[in-house]
Structure formats: structure tokens, C-alpha cells
């Protein structure tokens, strides 16, 4: 056990820090709070710049434009990005989830065709997994693909598609065989979103914005060379994407949480409770300290999980405790913000009295979704119960 940076890690960090110092745009603060539709071209340009420095996908193998970074180096990457106050990247799903899946399962042609444009943000990717009747029970999905000559013809509906409005391409899970057990008749298709018959409709969520979309497919023709992995092996392909989702996501979230709890502590020194600053109120001190400690434990759990899975190569089921931990912690953190701010906590960004441009009212509502998206807390607990503790399957 040694938590000091190794010489190699220090070199990685220093090189990145130097690059970020020279390249992080100075005007990000003006863009940060704008709606995603407006800021999206800006984020694409920033990702292109990162790719130019070979920093867009550090975890990817070198031959695909990455740096073959270890998990620790990836953690360093996100820490440095946060420290430099760098914008996020436009093609988050392509870089984090879909690119790695194509690298693992794709043909040479597919890799050559798709990977460079994922890196440069020229083609934005979305994920067509959930359906109105297939959420936690993903394998029961019904969007069907019928083989007609050298094309699949796709019909069905997807929902909760992040980046659906911006997507050029979609990693789509479809049913190619309805006569076998549900996990065994699925296939992953790479679908051009400009194909005739694809309809994207924004889905308005409780925060008022539209982060997600519904996708409708009506006789959409997909050439057979766009099958990812083997026909009817789509469950394994899709699960590997979900593992990337649960494994890597938390590293960058920790820094957001850290910024938020630090900000709450700062606010507590001026916000009044019972006639004095909240920082002097015994109960608020307890709550802030508890939250501060849990944010640190989230970081430590991640570092430990990284060490443990570094040998295995891919994230395993222990990623599930990270997902439960961060999603539930984020809700607790936002509730503490609400208690601290009192009636001001509900003010939206448009209100001139809103604290921090309304990030706390937004955060309170947005984090409500954290224990649902990317695998509900209930599904995560099933995964721990069955795959980690060896209890019999409950479903």
C-alpha cells in the first residue's frame, strides 16, 4: 500500500498540467451555465483540442489514440481537469462507454471507421438501451430487427437516451431472435441517426430541461456490417458497456462533490441560523462534517476499487458499491444544501435572489434521478447480493 504518486504517475500529471495550463479556454465561466444546446459547439471544439494533444481518451490503448492510462492515471486525469476548471467534453458517452465497447468488440473496419471521429467529437454518440417496458429488466427489450438481405430492418422505441438530440450515431440494442431465452436473442447495432425512419423527441424531465430523448424507429434499415460483436451476443456487448458506465463515472463525480461540499462549508460561514452563522450551529456542523467525511470516503472507495480491478482489466461488480455510494451521498449533500439555505434553496437561476445562480435548486431536483439512472439502487443491491455475496438470485 502506497498512496504516493509513482514517478510515472507524477510525470503523467506534470505533462497534463502543463498542457492544461496552456490550453484550457479562459472564457469557460461565461458558458458554464448556458443550456447544453447553446454550449454544445463550444464543448465539441474543446474536445477537438484535447484530442489534438492526445488527451481526449487517456484510458484507450495507444494504437486507438489514447495513452493506455492506468486507472490511477485516469483518476489523476479527472482531478487535473477539475483543478484546471476545464470544460467537460461533448462526446462523453462515445469516449467513456461506446468507444471502449467498439474497441473491445468491433471489427477492424468498424474501429477505423468510428474511433477517430469519436475522439475528435466529429460524430456524437448516444445509447439506445432502455425502453418504456424494459428498464431495470433490460433484457426484456422489444425493439426488433429483422434481417432482409444485407440489412436489418428496425422497429421499436427507446427512452432515456442521453445526448439523443445531438447524436449522429447510436449504440442500439435490438431483438434479433424472439424464440430463444430473452438474453440470448439480442444484438447490438451501430445506427446512423440520419437514417430514414429515425425520430428523436426530447423528453422533458422534472428539472424542466431535456437532457434525454425518446427515439422512435420505423422500418429503419441498418447494414449488416454495422452489427457490433456477434449476432445474438448483444447482451454481453451491452453489459460490458454498462460496466464501463458504473466503473469509471464516479472518478470525475468525486471532484464535483468535493467542490460542492467545500462551497457549502464556505456558505455556512455567512448564512445565518438561529441568529448566528450556520458554521457555529451545532447541528449544521454535524451534518456538514458527516457529508465532508462521506465525500472523502467516496474517493477512498474508488481508489481501492481501482487498485483491486487494475489486475482484472475491466470493472467488476464491486463497482456497484461505488454507484450506490455516490448516488445516495449526492442526494444527502443536496438536502444539506437545502437545509442550509432554507427558503432560498428553492430559487431557480432566473431569480435575482438565487444563491450561486440556482445550482442548489437544480441540484436538489437533478440528483433525485441519480439513484435511478445508470442502474437503480435496487438493481445495484441485487448485483452485490448475487454476484459479490453469492446469495441466490431474487428475480
Amino acid at each position: 500500500m502506497d498512496l504516493n504518486l509513482s514517478a510515472e504517475e507524477r510525470q503523467f500529471r506534470d505533462e497534463l498540467r502543463t498542457w492544461l495550463d496552456a490550453n484550457v479556454p479562459k472564457d469557460w465561466a461565461e458558458w458554464r451555465e448556458k443550456p447544453l444546446e447553446e454550449a454544445f459547439p463550444y464543448l465539441r471544439a474543446w474536445q477537438r483540442k484535447l484530442d489534438g494533444g492526445r488527451w481526449a481518451a487517456v484510458s484507450w490503448p495507444k494504437e486507438y489514440g489514447g495513452r493506455g492510462a492506468t486507472l490511477m492515471q485516469q483518476a489523476i486525469f479527472w482531478e487535473e481537469m477539475a483543478r484546471a476548471q476545464a470544460p467537460s467534453m461533448a462526446n462523453a458517452l462515445g469516449l467513456g462507454l461506446i468507444g471502449p465497447t467498439i474497441i473491445a468488440y468491433g471489427t477492424q473496419e468498424q474501429k477505423k471507421r468510428f474511433i477517430p471521429k469519436i475522439l475528435s467529437a466529429e460524430e456524437i454518440w448516444c445509447q439506445g438501451f432502455s425502453e418504456p417496458n424494459a428498464g431495470s429488466d433490460l433484457a426484456s427489450l422489444q425493439t426488433e430487427a429483422r434481417l432482409e438481405g444485407d440489412h436489418y430492418v428496425v422497429n421499436g422505441q427507446k427512452v432515456w437516451t442521453s445526448f439523443g438530440m445531438f447524436g449522429h450515431w447510436c449504440e442500439l440494442v435490438v431483438r434479433t431472435d424472439a424464440n430463444v431465452p430473452k438474453h440470448k436473442g439480442l444484438t447490438v447495432l451501430l445506427v446512423d441517426m440520419k437514417s430514414p425512419g429515425v425520430d428523436v423527441r426530447p423528453l422533458r424531465q422534472m428539472t424542466g430541461e431535456s437532457e434525454f430523448s425518446e427515439l422512435f424507429f420505423r422500418d429503419v434499415r441498418v447494414p449488416v456490417e454495422n452489427v457490433l460483436g456477434k449476432v445474438n451476443d448483444g447482451w454481453n456487448v451491452a453489459v460490458s458497456t454498462l460496466m464501463y458506465e458504473r466503473g469509471s463515472y464516479g472518478a470525475r463525480l468525486h471532484l464535483l462533490f468535493k467542490r460542492n461540499i467545500d462551497r457549502l462549508i464556505e456558505l455556512s460561514r455567512t448564512v445565518q441560523k438561529n441568529g448566528r452563522p450556520a458554521a457555529g450551529d451545532a447541528l449544521m456542523r454535524q451534518k456538514l462534517a458527516q457529508c465532508y467525511a462521506e465525500v472523502e470516503i467516496m474517493r477512498l472507495n474508488q481508489l481501492r476499487a481501482f487498485s483491486r480491478i487494475a489486475a482484472a482489466g475491466v470493472p467488476g461488480p464491486e463497482g456497484s458499491i461505488l454507484k450506490i455510494f455516490w448516488s445516495e451521498l449526492n442526494q444527502r449533500l443536496q438536502q444539506i444544501a437545502q437545509e442550509l439555505l432554507g427558503p432560498y434553496g428553492q430559487l431557480l437561476g432566473e431569480d435575482r435572489r438565487a444563491v450561486d445562480k440556482g445550482i442548489w435548486s437544480y441540484g436538489y431536483l437533478r440528483t433525485r434521478g441519480n439513484t435511478i439512472e445508470a442502474g437503480t439502487s435496487e438493481v445495484q443491491r441485487n448485483i452485490i447480493g448475487h454476484f459479490v455475496l453469492g446469495l441466490p438470485r431474487s428475480y
Partner: protein, 367 residues
């Protein structure tokens, strides 16, 4: 950066697990807890042979000079076995305090006696107010003599010498000193006896001032957290085993999500406590600037988690979990005693608040 254990650390942990499983099975724990002291000289000698009593102490005192991480791996395994007796009090607590505050000559005498296995010891801190803040101690040793009462002193009945925290220094009193009276306190954890110690103009040897005390108590607290982690792990293991085999409605109860999800939460709470304990030990070893915060985070989290894990374990084992015959209540009682030792979660949240809210340094961690 590597948060995993290296080969020699894994070996030490593995050996300790086998040692305690072989030398201190639950029948032995139950036998010892019914004795007055819960101390077994034969078991003690075997631990001395393993080098456990000198694990973190310098070689010139007869120790083997390993680090805090190695100490907590050993404590974790001791916790898994619910090791009774004065090992924690002697090594993690009294040894750490001696190492931190005593003169080289005193270490040669007293710390060597701990390493060699000749002596058992403990530290007396709390008085009637039961405050874990050393600043709240009233007892004075300025006259070279101690008067007053210390409470909740672990394993004082078998201590060959006691270390006493006074407001003006740290003192040492040998067993049987004039005017000293040790009485057992009747508390729920039978595996670790706590005592009251009354002093009446008892002559005491001054070890040093209280400046180094906080760090030594942080080492002890972290060792205790590691022990709690081992206890949680064992509670989780036996609960999962029970949930796999106990059948109701024709199915193993572990198939029901109401049970399975509680097991998942026990796993999350145990692993999170372990992450915090390991980091605190490493931070102490490296003298990291956030070491004190890291210790409080670990003690805070584990204090609540150990109780919660125990609650869930007993709930899942149902009526059987509530019986004297089942071992879970022994772990549950130890968890309660450990929860309040060296400050409970509320105490440590306030300490974290003082360190990160009042200091104005919100970014002590991860810097």
C-alpha cells in the same frame, strides 16, 4: 499509487487470520469472557512468539518495527476473531502512548517489557464527565502524586503498569502502587473488561508532556477502527451464510430482496469502513497533513457502521440472532463499546468540523 496490500502485508494478514482462528476460536472467546479478566497467559505467550506485541515498535526496544498499516491488518484479524483480553490496550494504546511521550530510557524499560511480552498495560484517560478530549482532564500530577478517579479504563486489572493522562502530563503507575485501587465496572462487553481506577496520593513517574498524546491516541483509535472492520466482516460473513441456508416459504431467505439488500448494505458499510481505516493508517504512517482528519473520518464512519451492521445481522438472523447461544450478540456488544471509545461519531463529526470548517481550510483533503 497503490491502495492494495503488498505481498508481505497480505502474508501477515493471512497468517494472523489463521493464527487467531486456530488459537482463539469462539469457544475460547466464550470461555475467557466468563473469567474475571478475559486474559489468558498461554494465548498471550503465543502472540508474543508471533511478534505481535512488538509489531510497530523500534527494534532497539525489541520490537519488529513495522508500520501502522501492518498494525491495523493485525487488528482487523484480531477483530474478526473477537480476540478477548488486553492486546489492544497493551500494544495499540499503551505502547503507542509510550512510544510518543516517554524518554528513551523509559522506552527501554517499559516499551521493551511490552515487546518481550513480560508486561501488559493500558491507558487511563476518562474521568467522571467521560470526555475524550484530553483538554477536559482534571487530574493533576504536578506534585508527583495522583489523586482522583479514572473510569472506563480497559483491562486495568491485568496491567502491570498503568499510563495515566493528567492535565499537566502523562504519568506511569506500576500495579499495586500505594493508594491505587482497581475495580471492575460491569459493562455489556464481556470480552474487554473496563475498570475504574482510584488514586489517593499515589506516587507516579512522569513520562512526558501531553503534546504527543493526540497523535498516539489517533494511532490507537485507528487500530480500534480496524478491529471494528474485522468484527463487521465476520458479522457480514455469518449473516450471508445464514441467509443462504435458512429457508422460509420454501426458499433461502437470502433470495428475498428485503434480506438481500440489507446484506448489500452491510457489505457497503464494511468496505467503506475498511477504506477509511486503511487510509487513516497510511496517513498516520506518512505524517500526511490530513492524518488527524482521516482518523476522525474513519472513527466517525465505523462507529455508526459497526452498530448498523450489527443491527442488520441480528435482524436477518431473526429469533436465533437474539439468543445468547448465537455469537452475534458478542460482536454487537463489542461494537457498542468500541463505538464510544475514543469518541463516537458525534464527537468525531465535531472534531472534523473544527479541523475543516473552523480552520477555513476546506481543502485539507486530496490536496
Amino acid at each position: 499509487m497503490e491502495f492494495g496490500l503488498n505481498e508481505s502485508q497480505l502474508l501477515l494478514k493471512d497468517n494472523a487470520r489463521k493464527f487467531f482462528a486456530g488459537e482463539c476460536p469462539m469457544e475460547e472467546v466464550r470461555r475467557l469472557m466468563e473469567t474475571e479478566t478475559a486474559h489468558d497467559p498461554a494465548l498471550w505467550s503465543k502472540m508474543v512468539e508471533q511478534g505481535y506485541t512488538g509489531i510497530i515498535f523500534p527494534e532497539e526496544c525489541g520490537g519488529i518495527g513495522l508500520g501502522k498499516v501492518e498494525l491495523i491488518l493485525l487488528m482487523e484479524e484480531a477483530g474478526r476473531a473477537l480476540l478477548p483480553g488486553p492486546f489492544f490496550s497493551t500494544v495499540a494504546l499503551a505502547g503507542s502512548v509510550l512510544d510518543a511521550v516517554a524518554s528513551p530510557e523509559q522506552k527501554k524499560q517499559y516499551l521493551s517489557a511490552i515487546c518481550s511480552g513480560e508486561a501488559r498495560s493500558t491507558v487511563a484517560i476518562l474521568e467522571a464527565e467521560a470526555s475524550w478530549n484530553p483538554a477536559d482532564v482534571h487530574m493533576s500530577g504536578a506534585s508527583g502524586k495522583l489523586t482522583g478517579e479514572k473510569l472506563f479504563v480497559p483491562d486495568a486489572m491485568v496491567a502491570d503498569f498503568l499510563i495515566v493522562v493528567a492535565r499537566d502530563g502523562v504519568f506511569l503507575v506500576p500495579a499495586g502502587a500505594a493508594g491505587m485501587e482497581v475495580q471492575p465496572m460491569q459493562a455489556m462487553d464481556l470480552t474487554r473488561k473496563v475498570c475504574s481506577v482510584r488514586f489517593s496520593s499515589t506516587p507516579a513517574e512522569r513520562l512526558g508532556d501531553t503534546a504527543g498524546l493526540a497523535r498516539a491516541l489517533d494511532v490507537a483509535a485507528t487500530a480500534l477502527v480496524a478491529e471494528m472492520v474485522g468484527e463487521m466482516q465476520r458479522t457480514l460473513d455469518v449473516t450471508v451464510e445464514y441467509a443462504k441456508t435458512r429457508k422460509q416459504f420454501g426458499k433461502p431467505i437470502g433470495m428475498f430482496q428485503a434480506v438481500q439488500h440489507q446484506c448489500a448494505d452491510m457489505y457497503l458499510e464494511t468496505e467503506s469502513s475498511r477504506s477509511a481505516a486503511y487510509y487513516a493508517a497510511w496517513a498516520l504512517e506518512e505524517n500526511a497533513p490530513d492524518a488527524a482528519v482521516a482518523v476522525s473520518i474513519a472513527k466517525m464512519y465505523a462507529s455508526d457502521a459497526a452498530r448498523t451492521v450489527g443491527n442488520r445481522g441480528i435482524q436477518i438472523q431473526g429469533g436465533m440472532g437474539f439468543t445468547w447461544e448465537n455469537d452475534l450478540h458478542l460482536y454487537y456488544k463489542r461494537a457498542k463499546a468500541s463505538e464510544t471509545s475514543f469518541g463516537d461519531a458525534t464527537f468525531h463529526r465535531e472534531r472534523i468540523a473544527r479541523l475543516v470548517i473552523d480552520s477555513g481550510a476546506a481543502s485539507v483533503l486530496g490536496a
